[in-house]
Point group: C2
Chain length 215, copies 2
DNA sequence: CGTTTTCGTCAACACCTGTACACACAATTT
DNA sequence: AAATTGTGTGTACAGGTGTTGACGAAAACG
């Protein structure tokens, strides 16, 4: 047991180093700084791997970032699709949907923090990718609203405007949520309550809305 | 003219280096990266000054950041106060207020970009300072709304909720505005138009709102 | 079994980072 | 006029950065 060839090149780890790198980056985002401020070396260090090993899995940091982004939104899209499949939107299901959503946020805090910080502060590539995803959610929401009999008389542009209003607010409330401590249940319930009221108010406004028929 | 003692220590510049440092940092934020990603050295380089000169004006970069933040909000507060002094809010003045605001954003693009990027990605100190300012605006808006006869029956908590709704949206729209090119007047008008509709919709919702009297 | 591919390691590089220090000139105060 | 304070400069250092290259062991494949 004393002699073991060179004794320092023995860590196969199969395909798990890649995951370790992503997890390390995500963890640093939560505890330290926005992703754009992380260095390749500290990520590999946290992943328990030598710096050059990084290149076996990603060409550079920005590639890691885009992978992380993809991971973040893939699961989020999945959840949204499930919520969408339920009945048509109405006032009653509002609270339930919000609870599902914010619960998901809490269970994926790291990913949301990552996205939130890069939304304004990331590279142009990153920002555009995120904004594209958000726009997609807005479009889907607008399509759902279009199927709502209540809104037959609202034209497409106004539906988009309304969906944007909702998404803007949910985004802002999500960021507010992320600023709270993980165990601050009181604060979290408060945000949830505010969210419900705000969306209900929007719901009222939507009911009053009259689109110009020609525009 | 050939001999001039040492010939390289002659740049008094009085008190203008400080401003040069702030301007350089702001410029780098617009053209390069969020403030938190700037290095002391590149700021001094852009300001045309040697790195160590930095310490004559700020103890470190984060002090520069806080000064920049103060500058950003001092002028913004000033503008807001002027808008606030006008007549009570009503539907007619909506467009005008939005035009004033977004025009101000366009004329202070660098400051808003700086704030926007630090809001989510800055140090905790920075983030809290910004969020405190935003909360202040929300409070002032809620107070203005309280003086609106139309809203006599709305309790304080709900006023806060409504003001938050407005501020959340204006914040999001501001960031959307900042993503546009400076000369993209079409896009800017589009955002302005959307903003007007969204706030009008909120206005409708506010009109329908009924507070629980006891809560 | 032997061969090839995958993947982690080490050493080294050129560069950038914040900051300490001593120095020199300018402005201001005495 | 002399002394003090303010402000910009050059040098220097220790440490962090991304990336190259050659090396070797483990895993996958034949």
């Amino acid at each position: 047991m004393s002699k073991e060839s060179t004794s320092r090149t023995r860590k196969p780890k199969r395909g798990q180093t890649r995951e370790a790198l992503m997890a390390a980056a995500l963890d640093l985002v939560v505890k330290k700084a926005p992703f754009s401020a992380l260095s390749l070396r500290e990520v590999t260090k946290k992943a328990g791997v030598v710096p050059t090993a990084f290149y076996r899995h990603f060409p550079d940091m920005s590639a890691l970032g885009l992978t992380l982004l993809d991971e973040s939104f893939r699961t989020l899209r999945h959840m949204m699709r499930q919520v969408r499949q339920e009945e048509l939107p109405n006032e009653r299901m509002l609270r339930g949907s919000l609870e599902v959503y914010f619960n998901y946020v809490r269970n994926n805090r790291a990913h949301f923090l990552f996205v939130s910080k890069e939304l304004a502060g990331g590279t142009p590539t990153m920002r555009n990718a995120i904004r594209r995803e958000i726009r997609m959610f807005t479009n889907e929401l607008a399509m759902d609203m279009a199927r709502f009999p209540f809104l037959n008389h609202v034209n497409a542009e106004d539906l988009q405007m309304m969906a944007g209003l909702v998404v803007n607010n949910v985004t802002a409330l999500t960021q507010e949520m992320l600023e709270l401590e993980e165990d601050d249940e009181f604060g979290q319930n408060q945000v949830l309550g505010t969210a419900e009221k705000q969306l209900r108010l929007i719901y009222f406004g939507v009911g009053m809305w009259k689109s110009k028929p020609d525009q």
